[in-house]
Symmetry: C2
Subunit: 133 residues, 2 copies
DNA sequence: CAGCATCCAGCTTGATACTG
DNA sequence: CAGTATCAAGCTGGATGCTG
């Protein structure tokens, strides 16, 4: 086995996602939510403007992207840079903290992407086993 | 409104979460969803029975846990071992694939937990800056 | 271009009750 | 214990229209 840190989930941290009332739960949800993860992932490549981001994150609506961006900015993961030009130009980019979060997220995303064949196979197996009952 | 197929600066993978129609998107959502992540995190410590899991994942309802577990089992991330005893006993545990996913997820979770002070500070800053307008 | 406000369909969720 | 079934409520998110 590789040298994975074999710690049991609860360490002596002040914050614990497993507790319902912990604020870390909320932040984790912003990060892993439907659009949060994809937004952070897209921004990991570099700064993007609002509509660039929208095209990049396939399927997101204007409203949801705006909402997502606000939540991430509030959590200090994304920096918003508005230029008072006409037409307006606004760039979004990851903060150093956001970059670290995005890296860990991307590690998960890429892993899942890389193992989709296994997942799909498991799915098929599960479904046929069920159908046979 | 078709999706962008082009990959970004990413690697050359057949699956791409950024595309709306990619099945990896669904799996990623099972994994990072409201309860999926916490469930995988809890199971990373070892096998747990249904109600143990419920207690561990604070706030999850019976129904949501059941639903979550089914999705994860179908995706091949969790293994369900039922013993036909009375009263019934069912153990859930991660598959090897599930363990790898859980590790990456936990890396993210622990990172977020460890930086919550920064997040909370950013939040406060954002809110007071807004309120001042 | 970069958004905010509003409306509302429908999906998600939580209670509750019930089964094996 | 380990779930399933059902139903109401509420939140999510898309469409639309408007502003600077």
């Amino acid at each position: 086995m590789d040298g994975i840190q074999e710690r049991t989930a609860e360490q002596d941290l002040p914050y614990n996602v497993f507790a319902k009332a912990c604020p870390s739960r909320g932040t984790l949800e912003h990060v892993t939510g439907r659009w949060g993860g994809l937004t952070l992932g897209a921004l990991h490549e570099g700064p993007l403007r609002f509509n660039e981001l929208r095209r990049r994150v396939d399927g997101v609506s204007e409203k949801m992207l705006s909402q997502t961006l606000h939540a991430l900015e509030r959590d200090g993961l994304v920096h918003r840079e508005a230029q008072p030009t006409n037409p307006p130009r606004v760039d979004y980019e990851l903060t150093p903290l956001g970059r670290e979060v995005a890296e860990r997220l991307l590690s998960l995303i890429h892993f899942v992407e890389g193992r989709m064949d296994d997942v799909l196979a498991a799915r098929e197996h599960y479904d046929t086993a069920r159908g046979a009952l």
